[in-house]
Amino acid sequence: MSDHKTMTLTLIVWRQKNANDPGKFETYTAKGITEHHSFLEMLDCVNEDLIHSGKDPIVFDHDCREGICGMCSQVINGAPHGGQDRTTVCQLHMRKFKDGDTIYIEPWRARAFPIIKDLIVDRSALDKIVQAGGYTSCHTGGVADGNAILIPKPVADEAMDAAECVGCGACVAGCPNGAAMLFTGAKVSQLALLPQGRAEAAARVKNMSNAMTECGFGNCTNHYECQAACPKGINVKFIARMNREFIKAQF
């Protein structure tokens, strides 16, 4: 379990002061890293060294550090979240790397996600897509008993598969077109599958699709990079379902 071997790694990290700064890569050394360090804990160590030497630490988004809030967002060696199956950056552990490795770390890159600083981007466009219709219009209070609507297990399970999306935006960062189809498709599908969401299904898919375009996301040309990047294993079949819902909504 706990052996005391440590690793030394070379990090090549994107540094950008603010949205207007052109930004550039800087090289750092991470020392004394064990296989049990998480990727973000490795960055914490590098930052502690930077602070001690009076330099500005690398800023990155993170909060829960357990793979559920969707806040962490880094492209590692070209792969959003580092490319480990169903894993966010914060859950990636250093046992996946070797002593002496060189690691490239960049922010999400997409037209709809402007860089704020270093590895932090502005993902508010995803919130705008949800605001366009990612809900049922029920009022607080005055709803039916939870068991009044029967939803057989397979349907509930499939809705749950779609609902697992954490809104991290890796699908957008992984897509050559910067499309948000997997994110939007997951929400549209969750609510289209459930009887509670059917009533507004047509308006929802139209409004959310329009919002995607307005926010500057690209189109889907079936690369499936989104599914490969997704830390929650959201399936591209939900994009197909959204497309079907979209066609249905035209009639």
């Binding site: 379990m1 706990s2 002061k17 603010n18 064990t34 049990h36 998480s38 973000l40 804990e41 914490d44 502690e48 602070i51 001690h52 330099k55 500005d56 630490p57 800023v59 988004d61 993170h62 909060d63 829960c64 550090r65 559920i68 809030c69 969707g70 806040m71 894993t87 859950q91 046992r95 704020i116 600083k117 993902r123 508010s124 919130d127 949800v130 605001q131 809900y135 049922t136 219009s137 029920c138 607080t140 209070g141 039916a144 939870g146 068991n147 029967l150 939803i151 057989p152 297990k153 397979p154 349907v155 509930a156 749950m160 697992e164 954490v166 809104g167 609510l191 459930l194 509670q196 969401g197």
Partner: protein, 637 residues
């Protein structure tokens, strides 16, 4: 001073209905003239902002993350309670009420807990209507599971991600109101002061975390829904950004802090692996439904591979000590029992700080597929962190700080002692007493947000004229200047130690001397060492960069500065409470390892008033009366 919780009187089952009728209403046409600030958009704040916006109030909502969908409510795994009694196994509103009062070790208000149990059923209905994909059976009915501290199955769940799904439900309702223009959302903003004018809460000062600008917002009422404070222990199951800051700033502006020493240590978390570690990860309590907890009987066996320790050499200590609840004993009890075994030298894993949670029997009985179906994502998470396969060898667990029962003092209307300041969710102290039962924090957050505040805030607003104070009031400028001065001070010290180093030291003091077991001596040590550490912090901390930009070091430095003040209050509260109850275990007050309450002297809520930094705070008491549940020794044997 004796505090009055303003609880309605009369038969308990009528209290909330009667109170709702007695509350004044705001005329529908007038609602939009009232501004309400909601700080925090977790379950409590998200639900409140959406519901108040829908009612027609003008709502401004704030959170420190980049989106309201990321509040730490998202991390709750296990489930949410409700008294639906769908399984027909004997549940009722009364039983949920009773279990919560008893689970809290008789340190919560009866009326508040009754209301929580009563509205619990509405919450499930509301979430279903929003499209929350709760687990269902093949016929389509909602599924339930059991959870620690209860003998009925009343917990609703959505895979291992109940908190996430409930929060996304609240977030979707909030998004609908943002679109409708009733709620204006300010993300990446941190509240750094409460603005009080002539004794009434009138607004907040926030830092825009992207630009570093300080901003002022005014309103007719302020709701704090800013979560819990157990990051005072540094390593906890909370998110990195969780802090006491909003609560502490409000406390310094006059709001009383109630029962800060009631902190919950969760029994099943992944043990710490090294000093660099930044947080601890919880494994849902629901695992104890099918996992059996044990340690080796003999010290010599602790180093062996667990599968090589024969059955008769294992001590299933929870089953042994608490035969009727067994592995489902409440959290405080299960945590202390784990510590006891490890203190006895029979712990496993690095440093001997761990116990086994073993699924071998359930896998034999139900098959690995059933276990995977129930807890697959938890096993996956465990493996990602430890590189061990929980299906093949027992998981290792150790208790970790998890939840704050204490919080700002509120009356039955969820209003603090500062008029116009309301406090919801984990940030208040109201319903969990000295120990919270599993699956009841989600319930409380949503109860407060969807079904309590929409009524009680109206009762207050109906008595005040809208828009009396605007941000041009000099008090707003003064608050901004104070915040700015503190930040400049932090940035100017340029010392030798980083913020993390201070936070780690504080966390160590809190965990060692004020954690699962507390003594007069250990607490007195902390009351000396914490002020000393605070002094060192203000002389020797190093914060790089400037205040006029995105600066995560500055954010953390501010939060740490507040923890360094708050930690002292927590210890002071623990020292004054000469009894053991729930999560507060004073070694001096026990009966063979079980907590010994002192109802004659401590059956009250202890609410502290701030008197200045180096001055002793003043204690105010709210006596607790138990008219429906008899004060009794809490036994799970």
């Amino acid at each position: 001073m004796i505090l009055d919780g303003k609880c309605p009187t009369g038969p308990i089952e009528k209290t909330w209905d009667k109170h709702r009728f007695d509350l004044k209403l705001v005329n529908p046409a007038n609602k939009r003239k009232y501004n309400v600030i909601v700080v925090g958009t977790g379950l409590a704040g998200g639900a409140a902002a959406a519901s108040l916006g829908e009612l027609g109030y003008n709502v401004q909502a704030f959170c420190y993350q980049d989106s309201p969908r990321r509040a730490h409510s998202i991390a709750a795994q296990g489930g949410i309670n409700a008294a639906k009694n769908y399984p027909n196994d004997g549940d009722s509103i009364y039983r949920l009420f009773y279990d919560t009062i008893k689970g809290g070790d008789f340190r919560a208000r009866e009326a508040d807990v009754w209301r929580l149990a009563q509205v619990s059923n509405n919450i499930i209905d509301q979430c279903v209507a929003q499209g929350v994909p709760f687990a269902r059976d093949y016929a389509g009915y909602l599924d339930n599971r059991s959870f620690g501290g209860a003998q009925v199955s009343r917990t609703f769940f959505a895979r291992g991600q109940t908190g996430q799904q409930l929060l996304l439900g609240a977030y979707s309702a909030l998004s609908r109101q943002i679109k409708a223009g009733t709620v204006k959302m300010y993300d990446r903003r941190e509240m750094l002061d409460l603005v009080v004018v002539d004794g009434v809460a009138r607004g907040i000062t926030v830092r825009n975390l992207v630009t570093g600008q300080l901003e002022s917002y005014a309103a007719d009422a302020v709701c704090l829904c800013t979560g819990g404070y157990v990051n005072v222990f540094y390593l906890s199951t909370n998110a990195m950004g969780c802090s006491v800051t909003a609560n502490w700033k409000a406390h310094k502006k006059g709001a009383y802090f109630a029962n800060p020493c009631y902190t919950q240590i969760h029994p099943t978390c992944i043990p710490q692996a090294g000093d660099y570690q930044s947080k601890l990860t919880l494994m849902s309590e629901s695992l104890r439904n099918d996992g059996r907890v044990w340690v080796p009987k003999k010290k010599e066996d602790c180093g062996k591979h667990p599968n090589e320790v024969p059955e008769d050499a294992r001590d299933y200590y929870l089953e042994r000590k608490y035969p009727s609840y067994g592995n489902l004993a409440p959290r405080d009890i299960a945590s202390r029992a784990a510590k006891e075994q490890c203190d006895d030298g029979r712990g496993v894993g690095p440093g001997g700080r761990g116990v086994y949670l073993d699924f071998a029997d359930s896998i034999k009985r139900l098959g690995e597929d059933t276990i995977r179906e129930r807890y697959g994502n938890l096993f996956e998470m465990y493996e990602k962190i430890t590189d061990e396969n929980g299906y093949k060898r027992p998981m290792r667990m150790y208790p970790a700080p998890h939840y704050a029962m204490g919080g700002l003092w509120v009356d039955y209307n969820l209003m603090s002692n500062v008029p116009g300041l309301f406090v919801l969710g984990e940030a208040n102290f109201s319903v969990h007493g000295a120990n919270r039962l599993g699956a009841s924090a989600l319930m409380q957050g949503l109860a407060d947000g969807y079904f309590v505040i929409p009524y009680t805030i109206g009762g207050y607003l109906a008595t005040v004229k809208p828009g009396q104070v605007k941000t041009d009031n000099p008090e707003f400028k003064k608050c901004e200047e104070d915040v700015k001065a503190e930040q400049n001070k932090l940035l100017g010290i340029n010392g030798k130690k980083t913020v993390f180093e201070f936070m780690r030291e504080l966390g160590h003091l809190m965990w060692e001397n004020c954690g699962m077991a507390r003594t007069k001596e250990s607490l007195e040590i902390n009351l000396k060492k914490i002020p000393a550490l605070r002094e060192e912090f203000w002389k020797n901390v190093k914060v790089t960069g400037s205040g006029a930009e995105l600066n995560q070091q500055l954010e953390n430095a501010g939060r740490t500065a507040d923890f360094l003040e708050f930690g002292e209050l927590l210890c002071r509260d623990a020292l004054h409470r000469n009894e053991s109850c729930g999560g507060h275990f004073r070694v001096e007050y026990q009966d063979a390892g079980e907590a010994q309450r002192d109802d004659a002297n401590f059956c009250y809520v202890g609410a502290w008033e701030y008197k200045g930094l180096e001055k002793e705070p003043e204690l105010h008491k709210e006596p607790l009366k138990f008219e429906n549940v008899h004060l009794a020794v809490r036994s799970y044997k």
